[in-house]
């Protein structure tokens, strides 16, 4: 029997390679090659007339410098907004994930289903709904105004906080789920043990729960931060010209202005910053266990 098993394994020695080949070939063409195209475009020079624009490859690294000098504000703003949104996601998601993992009892699966449900509505339509909620003539603004809590602008829509709120809402699910997965794995007996050993509740939280929840915090913050930093929908729908993000610039340069080299330089630059950031972040939190 052992012999047969070995022979079946030997027969399939090249099988894994054959099995991954189609997908790898596909991703090579539609994931790797596009990045070469992007890099090539980012180093090209535009020329010709307005009506017959031409583009030629020229090792023009100036595109990167121009792009980053010109759009410095948007770049800083994108990273700032995404960072604040990630922190807000963490603060909001933690209590919910904690209650689902430890206190929900037989309602655990129901609650998980409820948490996922809103995200079956198209991302754009959810954002439009926030536009309705935060509208100047809406009840939120009038209530806050009556209580005197309205910010100085006298409105919520078209402010930085509206954009950050949108980013937070749209990606919070990617914080809740990994956090829940990490917390759910914690053996409740560890908490009892720490209590029996006269640890106070805050101390148990800091010394037992937080370290064990770290993989979830790490995965969740990256799953929120990466899409949030590149997003342009929330800034477009909920913000104003004062809240444009790097995604808005890339989108506009590619699809409206059609300055391909500048847009490509910005996209690739953004990708590189994110990769470096992810590396540093994983190092700092010291875990390799992603998702």
């Amino acid at each position: 029997m052992a012999g047969a098993a070995t022979s079946s394994r030997q027969r399939s020695k090249i099988a894994p390679y054959l099995m991954v080949l189609p997908a790898l070939a596909y991703l090579a063409i539609f994931f790797v090659v596009p990045f070469f195209s992007l890099a090539r475009t980012s180093l090209s020079e535009t020329g010709g007339s307005v009506f017959m624009p031409t583009m030629e490859f020229a090792w023009d690294f100036g595109n990167y410098i121009d792009a980053f000098v010109l759009y410095r504000d948007q770049i800083f703003r994108s990273f700032g907004y995404a960072l604040v949104a990630t922190v807000l996601c963490l603060l909001l998601a933690f209590p919910l994930a904690y209650v689902i993992a430890f206190k929900a009892g037989r309602f655990k699966n129901l609650l998980l289903g409820l948490v996922i449900l809103p995200f079956f509505v198209t991302f754009l339509i959810r954002t439009i709904a926030w536009k309705t909620i935060l509208a100047d003539e809406g009840w939120v603004v009038s209530t806050l105004g009556a209580v005197g809590l309205l910010p100085d602008e006298g409105r919520l829509l078209s402010t930085s906080w509206a954009v950050i709120g949108g980013l937070t809402y749209n990606w919070i699910i990617f914080m809740i789920l990994p956090l829940y997965v990490s917390l759910e794995k914690i053996d409740p007996r560890l908490l009892e043990a720490s209590k029996d050993l006269y640890s106070s509740a805050p101390r148990s939280f800091r010394r037992v729960i937080m370290p064990l929840a770290m993989p979830g915090v790490l995965a969740g913050s990256m799953l929120v931060f990466i899409p949030a930093v590149g997003d342009f929908i929330n800034a477009d729908y909920l913000g104003s010209t004062q809240t444009t993000m790097i995604g808005n610039v890339i989108q506009k340069q590619f699809l409206v202005v059609k300055d391909y080299p500048a847009a490509a330089a910005l996209s690739l630059g953004l990708m590189l910053i994110i990769l470096v950031g992810v590396l540093l972040y994983t190092r700092a939190l010291g875990t390799e266990d992603l998702v």
Partner: protein, 285 residues
């Protein structure tokens, strides 16, 4: 949902066995925690309630942003705007075709990754995560430059090719997470007992991994249906459902958008309920 959803959703769907919880003492901190969690849950549902409510609105102008009055008209005529219906049909088509292709590519990779050890396995593993770390705007931009370089006209085909590109990794990761605990010696047993490799695949392997594949396919379908950013870059003048919604925000938002969104939500809810009941039945009986 965005492409990054994959692993998170897949991982959350896996229950972990654990010890019995001793009934916790109720105190004010516990109560506060529950209240905060409840408020966060309410926050998650606030926009959804607004969407459902405004599907019954009788908008005065071109925009459906302020409450004017109750009507059932929108629900009685959900397909009043042919461009919206056409866009939704196109999106369903793209989601179905791209998922069908991506499921085949992704599942093969997932099985190869968990079934046995082989040289280069971890490199493939790392490579598969890469598409999930690129923000959609960068992925869309890269695909756009590819299609420009090769002068491919943007349209249905470029949308389809792009969707498959972001779905493959996603499906591979999800299926892999689901089939990790699978006992692959069952295949050997089947071969030992004289079944051929083809028969073994259809009788043993496939039935065991099918639930994982279905879950991955449903999530991939939802991702494709929902994708705006990548599609926006590679669509040319072709209009998918999210692209129609985006154009509507700038021109006129018919309440039918809310009706269709609520209908999609209801269908998802029913599928979710069927899935839960099916799983429960399998465990109990």
């Amino acid at each position: 949902m965005t492409t990054q959803a994959g692993a998170a959703v897949a991982a959350a769907a896996q229950p972990t066995p654990k010890a019995k919880i001793v009934k916790p003492r109720r105190n004010w901190a516990d109560l506060l925690l529950r209240i905060v969690a409840g408020l966060v849950l309410l926050y998650l549902f606030l926009p959804i309630l607004v969407i459902i409510l405004f599907s019954f609105n009788k908008p005065a102008g071109k925009f459906n942003y302020t409450w004017q009055g109750f009507t059932l008209d929108n629900w009685l005529h959900p397909f009043k705007y042919p461009p919206l219906t056409e866009a939704l049909k196109l999106s369903l088509n793209v989601a179905a075709v791209s998922t069908a292709v991506a499921v085949v590519l992704g599942t093969l990779v997932a099985i190869a990754l968990v079934r046995q050890r082989w040289r280069g396995q971890s490199a493939v593993d790392t490579f598969l995560v890469l598409p999930l770390t690129a923000p959609e705007v960068v992925m869309g931009a890269a695909l756009l430059t590819l299609f420009l370089d090769f002068s491919w006209p943007a349209g249905y085909t470029t949308i389809l090719l792009s969707h498959i590109a972001f779905e493959v990794s996603f499906i591979a990761m999800t299926v892999r997470a689901r089939v990790r605990g699978f006992d692959w010696t069952l295949e050997d047993a089947s071969l030992d007992l004289g079944a051929g490799p083809t028969r073994t695949f259809f009788k043993i392997t496939l039935p065991l991994i099918v639930p994982g594949i279905i879950a991955a396919a449903m999530l991939s379908f939802a991702l494709s249906l929902d994708d705006f950013i990548i599609t926006y870059f590679v669509s040319g003048s072709t209009v998918t459902y999210p692209l129609y919604v985006n154009a509507a925000v700038k021109a006129a938002v018919p309440p039918q958008i809310n009706v269709l969104a609520t209908a999609i939500l209801l269908v998802s809810l029913i599928l979710l309920a069927i899935g839960t009941l099916y799983r429960r039945k399998k465990f109990v009986g």
